[in-house]
């Protein structure tokens, strides 16, 4: 094609091309060509390598080393060696290093941006204006957290060595999300970048030396999924993973019972809800940022469009016109909206999913599509919730759409998914927006906006989108643990049922489900004895009792919408009623354990007062994000929590677990101490007289071992806690992988139940939801 004259361009008014130069990146790549890992502050000699390519051109950019388990072990050893000194250097010293990293990212911003675009295929505008500035911001923000944590977070200490396994969609940004908080908190890191996109991590590692980061504090091991699995299996203290739900599930199973802390940021099918009173043009433009940002290869992409029926046709027409104006092509061209798909494998996945779809009506953007690893912006309208593409994550530039009639129906459709990462709500009615925000199951809500991120605001999901938050104080918390030393927890023996003395009057303890005393489904009971004295019988609950209890807990979820004040009133009332029967409860503890129960009952009453106090005081936060608007972090109930209660404090333990849970608005299924269950069955009588709505607390007695499995494996339970003295942690964490529910288990370590440690419990009993509300008139 001949070059057009100025006169011809004057008539055509085409944009032409505006390629970003990449000579500096090419020079850097030429210097290295074949990369080893970055271990102990230096590049290792390259091992067996594989090519990393520019997806837009197919050109090989460099060869990187396939990490072996030996490589991983070397990196972990280096991190281990460096960790104590790094932690001991203090928050202020670490802040200096993080600050220097932030400055270095800015100083090399264009180099990073161009390299990211070449390795990943995202438009240079995004790498330059979004990814890299967010990376710098993340290091600045965490320099601040490092500076403040010694005074603001006393009693916490770093996890130790953190493994980070990150995806290919935001290679350097995801590195920042893992590395900045880990280093700030005094951990050292071994990071495995994605196989498709390892280069910016290697550049970052090289540059980190200039920031004075000690050797071993950050190690990069490249490789594929096998390398990642080796890293997860290695001697690390925490695993932080961002990636697909299927890999996240494997990691959950692989780390079960190891005691490794785990955070998972997984997939999504985030709803994008447009009401008839929205600024429709702005909502259309928002979709460009929701689903065509990074070619839709974004975990929180607004990929599921829900439009109110009355405006659906008009909205879709506007959307199609907007799609047709998108420019897809060379990612280094500054005037490109949609770049390349990261790899032909991903392209094939997208194609496969769309081609398998038979439903709805498809609109493919009428923009020119280059040859190669590109996929056109696509809209599929007229789908219903039952269609596969409304449920499955596509991870590409494909938007699916359905309609709704009412706000309630919008919520219902929005929540009709296994995921729970993010949601966008478009309406000019603030009442409607703020009413919906708490009802939608997601970790992040954007009102009249989409894909807003900041280091100060927590990001992360619920359900099969994973658990844990990144960003803010809540994100840092995931890289810290309580500093107190714990003792091993010995299993409490269940006294053998040798009855030498029968009670004066037979009393039958039942299960407590949905506010009613219920006989166990299996029809079996167990005699509870102590030193030959028969104290009573408890029902042996089974999986069906767990099912019934979970159903009852769900039916009681209105509890989460009551006010903190109301919940406090009921907790006080429970305390009052327990206090009135303290002598009897103390005697019961003595009968079951042989030890005086007086102090435990008093502590239990006090504990109820503590959680009554917290019920209306566990406050959220307004995050100072760099935007005119509010980013509000709200502490929401987790939902239905199943808990295996401790054996060593049969009443206080149960009350602590229950108190924290219901104070925050959760409903609960409690499995009491197997050895001393009668304190729990007595306690339901207290609950019955304390105005607690039916189903908020359900008690299923029986074998902890037997009940743990159906409870942890239940797909409609949102979290499982275990303080049981039985070795159940591995089982629970494994079973929890099904719906990726949150777990909090003791790994066989004892807890001092005389201490409330309320903040720890409250954090476990809540999900931080970040609601972004930009404003302006």
């Amino acid at each position: 094609m001949t070059k057009p004259t100025i006169r011809e361009i004057f008539d055509s008014m085409d944009y032409g091309t505006a390629p970003e130069g990449n000579a500096e990146v090419k020079a850097w790549l030429a210097k290295h060509q074949r990369f080893g890992h970055w271990i102990d502050g230096a590049f290792t000699a390259p091992g067996k390598t594989f090519a990393t390519r520019n997806p837009a051109t197919g050109d090989i950019l460099a060869e990187v080393t396939q990490g072996t388990s030996e490589d991983v072990a070397a990196a972990v050893a280096s991190a281990r060696k460096a960790q104590t000194k790094w932690a001991k250097s203090g928050g202020a010293a670490r802040a200096r290093v993080l600050y220097a990293l932030a400055r270095l990212v800015q100083k090399h911003a264009r180099l990073f941006a161009v390299l990211e675009t070449m390795d990943n295929g995202k438009p240079i505008r995004e790498a330059r204006d979004i990814d890299i500035p967010l990376v710098a911001r993340h290091f600045y923000y965490h320099a601040g957290l490092a500076q403040l944590m010694d005074t603001e977070l006393p009693g916490l200490e770093p996890q130790g060595v953190c493994a980070a396994v990150i995806p290919w969609n935001f290679p350097l940004l995801m590195l920042a999300w893992k590395v900045a908080p880990a280093l700030a908190a005094g951990n050292t890191v071994v990071l495995k970048p994605a196989e498709y996109t390892p280069l910016t991590a290697l550049l970052f590692a090289e540059i980190s030396k200039e920031a004075g980061l000690p050797k071993g504090a950050l190690n990069i091991v490249t490789g594929d999924g096998e390398t990642g699995a080796a890293l997860v299996a290695s001697d690390v203290d925490k695993v932080a993973f961002t990636g697909s739900t299927s890999v996240g599930r494997k990691i959950r199973q692989a780390t079960a019972g190891t005691g490794k802390a785990l955070t998972l940021e997984l997939g999504g099918k985030s709803p994008y809800i447009v009401f008839d009173d929205a600024d429709l043009d702005s909502a259309v433009e928002g979709l460009v940022d929701a689903i065509w940002f990074n070619g839709g290869q974004v975990c929180c992409a607004g990929s599921r469009l829900l439009v109110q029926e009355g405006v659906a046709d008009r909205f879709h027409a506007k959307l199609k016109r907007r799609m047709d104006a998108l420019r897809i092509g060379d990612p280094l061209d500054k005037s490109i909206d949609v770049g390349a798909i990261v790899d032909p494998v991903q392209l094939a996945t997208i194609k496969g999913l769309v081609e398998a779809n038979r439903a709805g009506e498809i609109h493919v953007a009428a923009c020119a599509l280059p040859e190669g690893c590109f996929y056109p912006p696509t809209l599929i309208t007229g789908l219903s919730t039952a269609d596969m593409l409304m449920q499955e994550e596509i991870f590409g530039p494909v938007l699916v759409s359905t309609t709704f009639r009412t706000p309630a129906e919008a919520v219902e459709i929005a929540n009709n998914t296994r995921y729970g990462l993010a949601a966008s709500i478009w309406t000019e009615n603030i009442n409607l927006a703020l009413d919906l925000a708490p009802k939608i199951k997601a970790g992040v809500i954007w009102v009249n906006a989409t894909n807003l991120f900041d280091a100060a605001a927590g990001f992360g999901g619920l359900r099969e989108s994973g658990f844990g938050r990144e960003g803010g104080w809540e994100g840092l918390r995931a890289y810290l643990k309580p500093g107190a030393k714990t003792k091993a927890l010995a299993p409490v023996a269940i006294p053998e049922a040798l009855v030498e003395e029968a009670p004066a009057m037979d009393r039958t303890a039942k299960l407590f489900i949905g506010g009613k005393q219920a006989r166990p489904d299996g029809g079996y009971s167990r005699a509870v004895t102590f030193k030959g004295k028969l104290l009573g019988h408890v029902g042996l609950g089974n999986r069906k009792d767990i099912r019934n209890a979970v159903e009852a807990a769900h039916a009681a979820k209105g509890w989460g919408r009551t006010t903190g004040h109301n919940r406090a009133q009921i907790l006080y009332y429970i305390a009052e009623n327990l206090s009135a029967r303290s002598t009897e409860f103390a005697q019961r503890i003595k009968d079951q354990t042989g030890k005086s129960g007086t102090d435990e009952v008093a502590a239990a009453v006090d504990r109820l007062f503590t959680y009554a106090a917290w019920a209306d005081k566990y406050e959220g936060a307004v995050k100072p994000v760099p935007m005119r608007g509010l980013a509000v972090a709200v502490n929401e109930p987790v939902g239905v929590i199943g808990a295996l209660c401790p054996d060593e404090a049969p009443l206080l333990g149960l009350v602590s677990v229950m108190g924290a849970g219901i104070a925050m608005g959760n409903t609960m299924v409690l499995v009491p101490s197997e050895a001393a269950p009668l304190s729990a069955t007595d306690f339901y009588q207290v609950l019955e007289t304390s105005d607690l709505p039916a189903g908020v607390v359900n008690i299923v007695t029986g074998s902890a071992q037997e009940l743990a499995k159906p409870l942890a494996g239940h797909l409609d339970v949102d979290a499982v806690w275990s303080f049981s003295s039985q070795p159940l942690s591995t089982l629970i964490e494994k079973e929890a992988a099904g719906n990726l529910k949150r777990t909090w288990v003791n790994h066989g370590r004892a807890r001092d139940w005389t201490r409330a440690d309320a903040r720890e419990f409250l954090a476990q009993a809540t999900e931080v939801k970040t609601i972004w509300v930009p404003y302006g008139e």
């Binding site: 070059k3 057009p4 004259t5 100025i6 006169r7 361009i9 004057f10 008539d11 055509s12 008014m13 085409d14 944009y15 032409g16 091309t17 505006a18 505008r125 204006d129 009173d277 929205a278 600024d279 429709l280 043009d281 702005s282 909502a283 433009e285 928002g286 027409a317 104006a325 500054k334 005037s335 909206d337 000019e428 009249n448 906006a449 005119r628 608007g629 930009p774 404003y775 302006g776 008139e777």
Partner: protein, 329 residues
């Protein structure tokens, strides 16, 4: 369809598009209009970064920008001499040698915009050039002189040879949500313009909210405005990208409903070549190619041309230019 014009002829809207006849006042439509300020600001903030034109393309776009300029003088000290000088610049906006080298000899600006008293002078000075004269009118800039005088002013300017009339709306009708009054006034002004094209200046800096801007835009179009224009250049805030986005989206909705293309003119504060490119990219993205022609898009600007001339000379020579190398307007 490409709507490219022969630049040697004049650029009046009737050349390619039907004039906006207006329509009845549809208050339901007006009431349904929403403009989310922060979302509009976010879009506006990224337009400049989403599109970039370089080298020959940049030169061509800047030359196009010149053809879109309403070269303007609206000062209390305007004289016939001053206006003649401006008109000479309008005829030869860029040094002849440069235009020759760029391949666009004969390039002219979109129009010359003056106060009523200067219309006759400008018409005479521009005779034979094809460049239309636009007159600001209706008690410009405040629009608070008696209604009948405002109407008479339009008629006098048309009789003096103005082919475009830039009227100012009564801001108070917007601020009090008196849509009927705004509609009636605009209708009457449109009628008074006769065959002359009418640009409705909304004075967006005085309308308080983008929603008001969107609604006022719509009503002026319903009442038959050929163009909607942001500002008089005399408000403390003049053309901005968020206001532009709001107004061009209203234009798009109006076209969707009626099939009629209405023009857009940002005025005031656009002084740099780079700003002009951003506005043009916005027009191309939001409304499409037809709005890159002078019959549907104008810049109300006085100092923009000077910056463009310097950029063009840089393009030709590779050296940064100086303003004394270009004729003043």
């Amino acid at each position: 369809m490409q709507t490219t014009l022969d630049i040697s002829t004049h650029h009046l809207p009737q050349v390619t598009h039907a004039r906006n006849p207006g329509m009845g006042l549809d208050l339901d439509w007006v009431a349904s209009v929403h403009a989310n300020t922060s979302a509009i600001e976010r879009r506006a903030a990224t337009i400049g970064a989403r599109r970039s034109v370089k080298k020959d393309f940049q030169a061509a776009w800047l030359l196009k920008a010149i053809s879109l300029i309403d070269l303007t003088t609206l000062s209390g000290d305007d004289t016939a001499g001053r206006v003649k000088r401006l008109c000479a610049k309008a005829r030869q906006p860029v040094r002849a040698d440069m235009l020759q080298a760029l391949g666009l000899p004969g390039l002219k600006v979109g129009a010359v915009c003056v106060y009523h008293d200067m219309v006759a002078t400008a018409v005479e000075a521009l005779e034979g050039s094809g460049i239309p004269v636009a007159a600001v009118s209706t008690g410009f800039p405040a629009g608070l002189s008696p209604l009948h005088l405002r109407m008479q002013e339009i008629g006098e300017s048309v009789r003096a040879g103005a082919r475009e009339i830039d009227i100012v709306i009564s801001r108070r009708h917007v601020l009090t949500q008196n849509w009927q009054a705004l509609y009636d006034e605009m209708r009457e002004m449109r009628a008074a313009c006769g065959d002359a094209h009418v640009k409705a200046i909304l004075a967006t800096g005085e309308l308080g909210t983008l929603r008001n801007v969107a609604r006022a835009s719509l009503i002026c179009m319903m009442a038959g405005a050929d163009f909607i224009k942001t500002s008089t250049g005399k408000e403390s805030v003049n053309a901005t990208l968020p206001v532009t986005l709001t107004m061009v989206r209203a234009i798009r909705d109006y076209e969707d409903r009626t099939g009629i293309k209405v023009g857009y003119k940002p005025a005031g504060g656009i002084a740099k070549a780079k700003d002009a490119l951003t506005y043009m990219a916005l027009m191309k993205e939001e409304l499409g190619q037809p709005w890159l022609q002078p019959d549907l898009f104008r810049f109300g600007a006085s100092s923009l041309l000077g910056d463009i001339e310097r950029q063009l000379e840089h393009h030709l020579t590779g050296h940064y230019s100086a303003s004394n190398r270009h004729a003043m307007g």
